[in-house]
């Protein structure tokens, strides 16, 4: 088993790189790897609970919950998240909130890192 850390910066709605990141994480877990995901920038908007899945838009919540159940560790950048008006009690349960050093710490222990840094 190896470890993969994924940094996700693009938003859930408006950029399908986000969808790619979650599907890649699921595939890595299915192959027995350990995965952690860091959300920063616009991606942090996806950690809010009670998302309505409209079929014209990508949805995050059900996929994030499925990844949590598979043991994927996830964390959102607290500063980026509160800057978007989302407070911790509104977040999806199980997703951690922390500062940017969380990402660097996960990278430190990772065998591979995929940093998706676009807007």
């Amino acid at each position: 088993m190896a470890t993969l850390t994924i940094g996700v910066f693009p938003g859930l709605v408006g950029n399908m790189a986000y969808d790619f990141a979650l599907k890649l994480a699921a595939a890595a877990v299915d192959k027995g790897h350990k995965v952690s995901i860091w959300f920063s920038g616009n991606a942090t908007g996806s950690v809010k609970a009670n998302q309505k899945h409209l079929k014209d838009y990508s949805t995050g919540e059900k996929h994030l919950k499925a990844l949590l159940e598979k043991g994927v560790e996830m964390c959102t950048c607290e500063a980026c998240t509160v800057a978007r008006g989302i407070q911790k009690p509104e977040g999806i349960e199980g997703i951690q909130w922390n500062a940017m050093h969380w990402y660097l710490a996960k990278i430190h222990g990772a065998d591979r890192v995929l940093h998706i840094g676009g807007e």
């Binding site: 993969l4 790189a17 599907k23 890649l24 995929l114 998706i116």
Partner: protein
Amino acid sequence: MKLGVFVSDYTITVDTLDRLKAEKLGIILVANGVYHATIKENGKTSPLLDKTPNLYVLSEDLQTRGIAESDVDKRVKVVNYGDVVDLIFNEYEKTAWL
């Protein structure tokens, strides 16, 4: 350095890929990057396909766009998400998302 580069756009506005040197370079075409494997702009295949023999395109992103695997340039291997995981861990030491 063994570097796996994810290309997620068709229009590349930066020349980063031209400048990066790697003893083994892989290009993994995802999202709108898949068009590099299928489009012949003005009759010519994408210059990206000349950069390395290690070319991959994500099948799910072809299917999403209604592109048949038979339309993919013969130099490019069609892969799924599981294959991408194996590429990341087994073929390349570092990855870059451009």
